[in-house]
Amino acid sequence: MAQTQYFSDLIVKVAVDRDKSAFVELFDHFAPRLKGYLMKQGADDAVAEEIAQDVMVTLWRKADLFDPKKSSASTWLFRVARNRRIDRLRRQKTAELDPEEPSLQPAAPADVAVEMDARLREKRVRVALSTLPDDQKQVVEMAFFLGLSHSEIADRTELPLGTVKSRIRLAFGRLRRLIEADEAVDVD
């Protein structure tokens, strides 16, 4: 958890001082993880490296958009990578680039009520995931981290498609209740 603060501080140094050594440290930590994450989701080596590069370029140029109160470095980079991947697929399909593509738009202004310390949020979501029954945890990992479709999950688990669908639905609903129950406890 101290690590979260450490990486946030590095991004702030990049934003404020254009600090190259801070950036190199961030690059060496996150770029290989981004590449590995994307490859796990099925990207080939070249594509994964290209998107990881895109994300790091964004970090260098847009570090001032990072708000350490709202997210950790890894969550912010996850979002940038997700949006870059979507833009890339979109560009491949349409061939024309929309100048107003809202790729870097903050998804939406967070409600004051739902704003939560970034570290606390990560800790809670980790706990919530570990609390799921194993069969639900497994489908969450396949659907969320690997980005597999229901039928791909059915193939891998050798479960009927209907079972996979209902298990996924249950799992994400339960994950939500676990996260929100935790938040409610805090309010009291």
Binding site: A31, L77, I86, R126, F144, R169
Partner: protein, 221 residues
Amino acid sequence: MRAVMENHVTGMDELLAGYAAGSLSYPAQALVGAHLELNGSNRGYVSSLEALGGVGLDDADGVPLSSRDAILDAIFDEALPTATNTVVPVDAGNDNSPVPQSLRSIVGTSMDSLPWKTLLPGVKECKFGEIDGCSTSLLWVRAGRAMPSHTHHGTELTLVLQGGFQDEDDHYVAGDVAFADGDVDHRPIADAGEDCICFAVTAGRLELTGPVGRWFAPFMR
């Protein structure tokens, strides 16, 4: 790398998870983004799911970059093309039907200037074609009017942008997402008092059932 929406959407919490993971079809991703802009109730859950993505990134096994040094040099020399576009300021202008930021890459910035087609008296549609295998459109239903009755092959997601409507299950207002699939014989009715504008994404074919359906079908495909 990404799942077709039809395989992926079975309920709101899962839809939000698909959004956070980035695995929805493009128009469904845009629809959920617009939902989050208009309605705050799911933002906390989505932020938590994005934090889950961050955890996944933290835990990922690193794969070394084959051209680390060259990339770093290029970044510091500002030699790489801008991968991202600058943030566009929100400009609703004097359009009285502002388009949520997340829908602008599909819809554009003004609804008034779109090529609307009248389907029935009081019902207009603007189609954006098939995107990622999902037919994507805006619907404009005059206050108090009913949509033609229809069923679905696959999942239909409808985001209310303005006004509201009632279907068999529920009442929906701006920012709400309605799900319909398979067996639902759907005949939504717009609320009285204000025209209802919806952004609709459908994976699979729509089949029309009502008496108007036969006439209506060539437009819907």
